[in-house]
């Protein structure tokens, strides 16, 4: 059984604001039958079209999807559109006293419907529904390149969720967005996106060319391994260890599932790529049996 908080249970068993608003000012719809959950959010604004005076929802989904929708409608009532846009998926989860991590995508769905409703109301461009994918497009209003074909999730959307929720592993990205949760074909791409977001966030105290002191080099290499590489490997049951740094050669040894893995050569190349990108262009990675 899921460990739902009493607040989640209450909003599931006694959902607030179920239904539609015939004269709604803004409507946001995300998800699909194929994806297993979907939410249609209706917003009614006051006469000055500033504040949300009423919010209603229709949801197809599990208990936490229904509870997240109910919570969302309660949270946005009385807010201006800009205040409502500031509501994050974490705010929804917090309002509910927390959600199991596997269910965080329900809170993301709520936040998304809200954003779509307000964007559409403001006349911002909404791209056409992309019908060629088997499961439909979970977030049709999110531009970008499709990463997860099973759930129809784009790179822009995944990067946004990684950033706002400070995610570091593929598993977390799946729990929050569903991406990678079905065939798993896009997992390498998700890893790249995580690396990309984390790479952007990281300060780059040194230029990537030019002279680095040995001590600084060692510090930076260690930092990148801990922050950008190991979490990803650990998520797949693997690991690596920094053995030594000789001039520009970084010696690493693979551990756990990575040890003896047929594609550890690719992993070594990936580590080299990251180190060159984030530490120094001249670095070389060498796999050693330590």
């Amino acid at each position: 059984m899921w460990d739902y908080t009493p607040i989640v249970k209450d909003h599931f068993l006694n959902p607030r604001n179920v239904g539609d608003i015939p004269e709604a000012d803004a409507v946001g719809e995300v998800g699909s039958l194929a994806c297993g959950d979907a939410l249609k959010l209706y917003l009614k604004l006051d006469e000055k079209k500033e504040k949300i005076v009423d919010a209603k929802f229709q949801t197809f989904g599990c208990a936490s999807a229904i509870a997240s929708s109910s919570a969302l409608t309660e949270m946005v009532k009385g807010k201006t559109l800009d205040e409502a846009l500031a509501v994050s998926n974490q705010d929804i989860a917090e309002f509910l006293g927390g959600l199991p991590e596997e269910k965080m995508h329900c809170s993301v769905m709520g936040q998304e419907a809200l954003e779509v409703a307000i964007f559409k109301y403001r006349g911002l461009e909404v791209p056409e529904h992309d019908a060629e994918h088997d499961h439909g497009h979970a977030y049709p209003d999110y531009e970008g390149t499709l990463v997860c074909k099973c759930f129809g999730i784009t790179d822009t959307f995944i990067k946004k969720v990684i950033e706002t929720n400070k995610l570091t592993t593929v598993e977390q990205v799946t729990h929050f967005t569903k991406a990678g949760g079905a065939c798993g074909g896009c997992i390498p791409k998700i890893k790249e996106l995580i690396a990309e977001v984390l790479g952007q966030q990281a300060n780059q105290p040194q230029p990537k060319t030019g002279k680095l002191s040995n001590l600084k080099k060692m510090q930076l290499v260690q930092e990148v391994l801990e922050r950008d590489i190991r979490p990803m490997l650990l998520a797949d049951g693997g690991d690596l260890e920094l053995v030594d740094i000789e001039n520009d050669t970084v010696q690493i040894a693979f551990r756990k599932a990575c040890a003896g893995c047929a594609s550890s050569g690719n992993t070594a190349k990936f580590v080299e790529m990251k180190l060159r990108e984030l530490v120094h262009d001249d670095l070389r990675v060498q796999e050693v049996a330590a």
């Binding site: 899921w2 979907a38 229709q58 197809f60 599990c62 229904i66 269910k103 099973c150 569903k178 949760g181």
Partner: protein, 390 residues
Amino acid sequence: MKEIYLDNNATTKVDEAVFEEMRPYFCELYGNPSSMHFFGGQVQGKVTEARKRVAELLGATPDEIIFTACGTESDNAAIRSALEVLPDRRHVITSRVEHPAVLTQCRNLRQKGYRVTEIGVDGVGRLDMDEYKRAIDDDTAIVSFMWANNETGVIFPVEEAAAIAKANGALFHTDAVQAVGKIPITMATSQIDMLSLSGHKLHAPKGIGALYLRRGTPFRPLLVGGHQEQSRRAGTENAAAIIALGKACQLAGQHMQAENTTVKVKRDRLQDALMAAIPNARINGDGAERLPNTTSIAFEFVEGEAILLLLSELGICASSGSACTSGSLEPSHVLRAMGVPFTCAHGSIRFSLSRYTTDAEVNAVIQEMPPIIARLRQMSPFGREHLGKR
């Protein structure tokens, strides 16, 4: 709140008589059946009796029964053994709808260089025998098909499949965890080499299973380091649980008739009433031969976890093929293999009855289920459009 337990394919109540049978073997008769002294010997006697009782239910001989810790262990032991005794054969056949105890192991074998073929099923869950006949060849070491599916109750023609395996020199294993005790099985006239069963699916406790191994079938044990079970499964016998399994098998034999009559009548009444009362529903596996106690019904435009939790509020226990209950994101592999449309795969509920299920319990579910589905459909953005109830 008194529970209404219609989740007997997940686990079952330990029969009171079974519990009484095993009770003395904890604090009083706690001897090791392998010991030389009288104290262990009297336990040995009861273990022998249990082995005979299990064999009787299967129409087998006692030396063909190996006690294990669970159905999963039996499945693992059977498949691994087959690959070891037929080392020149590098091909494994199973089905797309197996329990993970078989399917995961087979998929792991791919990484060890084995060819693994997963045979598909049709829209009502029946095994594609033509695909199977095309797939099997003289490289096939083991074929493993479940006797009956845990989610839909659909029964596979395992005897026919075993004969085909034999003709190709392959070993045949069946995961019969859901079938044993519910439908008659006679191993004496069968060509099946190995069969797995689990105690807790037939009113024995959890933590006890058995592997049937046809006499003369070569075997390599999974657990080594002891002479127990004729060195085919090392480790001190779980004597109390073995004795319980024996009693449970004896009772299952006595109740076999009831499983296929009174339990089936209740199951049919439940599914007929729900289908009549709830529009946009379908029985998964309808038209195929099914276990007498199981029905899996797909309700369109609603999600299974929400249904289960609302049922649970009323004390009704069932289970679901939906994604959200398991933490995975896709509906069950069984429903997907059957091609059940996504519109209703997410809203599939399994009710599994037992000989303890009463008419009053069935009535309660018949009464409570329609308003739950109506309530969730009322909430769903799709239910309204598609059902035309605005």
